[in-house]
């Protein structure tokens, strides 16, 4: 089985490139549909989009974590987080943040909580909060990303002095972000500001793999081309494995929903990156080297 896969990988690399291309096309479609139906490319969470905060100023014997879990089960779509409030070293109450902005919806949440804890009217307060980030945040983010990609491209050209690698690195980072974003949307989770950082973290991980292949394939002359590819694949696979186990461990054991989200995005991104790097980019490079080879032979 493994030998067969290896054989396909060695000989049918052009055909295999359909997989990443298809993934990219499907992802772009998903983002398009997402934008058309919701007006945004991504499901924004409360801190990106705004929501409400219910503050309870009464003592009760439930840890914020337990309350959070129970409320999350009852209101799975409301994106609920609970934190404790303290003053002068004493816990004074709890704050329940949710993505709810609609009065009727908030009333239901408030009723559930006050029924559970036998709260009187004066024991809690409700605020509806606007977005912490300006509306043009995502626009700024996109501009920054365009500059990131351009600068990355320039650095690659300066470093490797080969245009094709520059294209590869940018393409890989672009595909990683777009495909991961589309899959993230399909999970139905809502994006937290720290999740944005996770998408940028993907660039860092993706670059490492691209540089290993480019160096081995373009700068080295030892062994055949395929030997060099498999050498690079071995290194790349170890790299992906170590990151994957770390991310999986974190995903299982971490309590914070925010960190969990970062890890989930990284997990999706790493798998996407493996496909993009080892099928798409290796394919492009081999194609490029083959063409060069033929040119040399022609001369």
């Amino acid at each position: 089985m493994l030998q067969k896969l290896k054989h396909i990988y060695e000989t049918k690399y052009k055909l295999l490139m359909i997989i990443p291309v298809l993934l990219l096309v499907l992802s772009l479609m998903q983002l398009g549909i997402q934008y058309k139906t919701t007006g945004d490319f991504v499901n924004k969470g409360i801190s990106l989009k705004g929501g409400s905060t219910i503050t309870i100023t009464k003592d009760f014997e439930l840890s914020p974590l337990e309350l959070e879990e129970s409320l999350q089960q009852q209101f799975p779509a409301a994106d609920i987080t609970v934190r404790t409030l303290s003053s002068a070293g004493r816990t004074t109450g709890m704050a329940i943040d949710s993505g709810l902005q609609d009065t009727a919806e908030i009333d239901i949440l408030v009723k559930t909580i006050s029924d559970n804890f036998a709260l009187q009217k004066g024991d809690y307060s409700v605020e509806v909060v606007g977005s912490s980030l300006g509306n043009n945040f995502f626009k700024q983010m996109l501009i920054a990303l365009v500059f990131s990609f351009l600068l990355m491209g320039i650095m690659v050209i300066l470093y490797f002095r080969v245009f094709i690698t520059s294209l590869m690195v940018i393409l890989a980072a672009f595909c990683d972000i777009v495909i991961t974003l589309a899959i993230f949307n399909l999970t139905g989770m809502k994006l937290h500001p720290a999740g944005i950082a996770a998408f940028l973290m993907l660039i860092g991980y993706s670059v490492d793999g691209e540089v290993v292949i480019s160096s081995r394939l373009i700068k080295r002359q030892d062994g055949t081309e395929l030997e060099r590819i498999f050498g690079a694949l071995r290194t790349g696979w170890t790299m992906t494995q170590t990151t994957l186990v770390a991310v999986l461990v974190a995903l299982i054991f971490v309590q914070s929903e925010i960190v969990k989200q970062i890890m989930l995005i990284l997990l999706i991104g790493l798998i996407v990156d493996a496909i993009v790097t080892w099928i798409q980019n290796v394919g492009i490079l081999r194609w490029h080297l083959e063409k060069n080879h033929k040119k040399h032979l022609g001369k």
Partner: protein
């Protein structure tokens, strides 16, 4: 083996790593043994504290070097609860002793109507290291403001903008300012700030900041960009007034400050028009105009300046603004004067808020799930490290490779945290994400170094070239990543700055110091 260890210890790359590692540990200064007392977090500005010589702790002081209260009125304060219990016993009209790790202060509790006395010092548990946590990890102050009357959406936007600007001018970090509304449709403004005293914020926010300069009953100019085109904040044209300086008062000292501003041509024209009609008077050999220039802040007179005759009818654009501050000692008076100056400069720069704001609620926030969160993150980090070590052990099956790999990776983490302590960064969730990237790419690079030096094809190649090949890949990944991170500095809301900064510093430390040291160690340990 022993020769290899000696070789390792004299290798300059390893030596550099070890030296920086030790300096980082010194900078982080983890408090392994428990420290006596409770740390002073903030204090209210009240005369009895100033007279006793107590003042608000500066944000620049390293967390472990902050002043700690050891006892209040003879009662030891081993914990925050102890402290507040001791303070609740204090009554008005008495003398108390407060002992800190630096000195003993004597406080005269002033008389009060009901006999109660509020010391006004807030404390927290002593810092366990010099690392500073951001608002989402450590908590901070949260203020809810309500406009005193109906406010339009446009005015709300302007108010939020001016408040942000004001807090920034005041040098506060980690600020969130946003508009909010409740179910009845009332508008609020919500502000969150990490580790700042409630009083400072209270004073700055509740003031509408209406600044007016009048001659007689006529207004010459208002605070804000329309009338004031420039406010000097550099040392050459702002600070303690060099001609009048500080002098002793009946009780304590008083200091004068002064700074330059530039008026718009329209405001200058008004000045010319108003002063044109004034009489001139002679006083102590100098010639002045009959009316003074009076400065008002929120309708309260803050200073009164004489106007020289040469300014009569002139449309001058350069004006010097002055004021004063008082205190028990000369140093206190100077600090107060400079603080007043900063406040005045801030309102002159940002102008008045379109509306007066009332503070509805002000409270200290605890971090999201608190200590639990940090402990959990550390546990997860340790588990992830174990899992990663397992993978590389399975792949390379040599403890001489795994051990240095894990040790160097850990030292990379310590180097970044050491840097963060020295630079006074607030570690928040985004910078933790940055740390994860650095550690992750660091692991990648250790694998690259190991593979480049140990792979079969490389056996024929000289060790120097093997390492050169490995470092070529790592350098490449580094410069390309640098390219992708730099634009993030300017991308919205400052949210990604922490991420970009931590990642850049971490990668630089890793690529320039730790990873070459690992390469050197591998070479020494495995070279035949």
């Amino acid at each position: 083996m022993s020769t290899r260890i000696t070789k390792m210890l004299v290798n300059w790359r390893v030596l550099l790593l070890v030296t920086l590692l030790l300096s980082s540990v010194l900078a982080i200064k983890p408090q392994i043994f428990s420290v006596e007392g409770v740390e002073i977090h903030s204090m209210a500005v009240s005369p009895f504290l100033t007279e006793a010589g107590l003042s608000n702790p500066s944000g620049k002081v390293m967390p472990t070097a902050r002043e700690r209260i050891l006892s209040v009125n003879g009662i030891e304060t081993g914990s925050v609860e102890d402290y507040y219990a001791a303070v609740s016993e204090l009554r008005a009209n008495k003398t108390y002793r407060i002992e800190t790790n630096e000195q003993v202060y004597t406080i005269l509790a002033p008389p009060s109507a009901d006999g109660s006395f509020d010391l006004g010092i807030k404390v927290k548990e002593t810092s366990s290291s010099n690392l500073r946590m951001g608002l989402d990890l450590e908590g901070g102050t949260r203020v809810l403001l309500q406009p005193a009357s109906e406010i339009s959406e446009e005015d709300m936007g302007t108010t939020v903008g001016s408040l942000k600007e004001r807090l920034n001018v005041y040098g506060l970090r980690d600020i969130v300012v946003r508009s909010a509304s409740d179910l009845e449709g009332n508008d609020f403004i919500l502000i969150e700030i990490a580790g700042v005293t409630e009083d400072e914020i209270q004073e700055l926010l509740a003031k509408q900041g209406k600044f007016e300069a009048k001659i007689g009953n006529e207004t010459v100019f208002f605070g804000g960009k329309k009338d004031i085109t420039y406010v000097c904040r550099s040392a050459d044209c702002s600070g303690i007034d060099p001609y009048r300086g500080c002098s002793p008062l009946d009780a304590g000292y008083g200091c004068r400050f002064a700074f330059q501003i530039s008026l718009s041509p329209e405001a200058a024209q008004r000045h010319a028009h108003i002063t044109q009609g004034l009489k001139t008077i002679s006083e102590a050999g100098s010639c002045y105009l009959s009316e003074d220039l009076t400065l008002y802040l929120d309708d309260v007179e803050v200073d009164r300046l004489r106007v020289g005759c040469e300014l009569k009818g002139s449309s001058t654009t350069d004006i010097q603004i002055s004021g004063s501050g008082a205190g028990a000692t000369q140093a206190d008076a100077m600090t107060n004067a400079l603080q007043n100056m900063k406040k005045l400069q801030t309102v002159l720069l940002t102008g008045s808020l379109p509306i007066k704001l009332d503070i509805v609620k002000i409270d200290s926030i605890s971090p999201s799930l608190g200590k639990e969160f940090l402990e959990n993150v550390m546990l997860v980090g340790a588990l992830a490290l174990a899992a990663v070590s397992g993978v590389v052990l399975y792949r390379y099956r040599k403890i001489v490779i795994i051990l240095p790999m894990v040790l160097v990776m850990l030292s990379e983490l310590v180097l970044i945290l050491g840097f963060a302590s020295l630079a006074g960064w607030n570690l928040d969730l985004a910078s933790i994400a940055g740390l994860i990237v650095v550690v992750g790419t660091g692991m990648n690079h250790f694998i690259v170094i190991t593979d480049e030096t140990l792979r079969k094809e490389a056996e024929a190649i000289d060790w120097k070239i093997r390492i050169k090949n490995a470092l070529f890949i790592i350098m490449g990944a580094y410069v390309i990543n640098l390219g992708s991170l730099i634009p993030l500095f300017w991308a919205g809301a400052g949210l990604l700055k922490g991420f970009a900064l931590t990642t850049i510093v971490g990668m630089s430390v890793g690529v320039l110091i730790a990873r070459p040291a690992y390469a050197a160690i591998v070479k020494i340990l495995l070279e035949e």
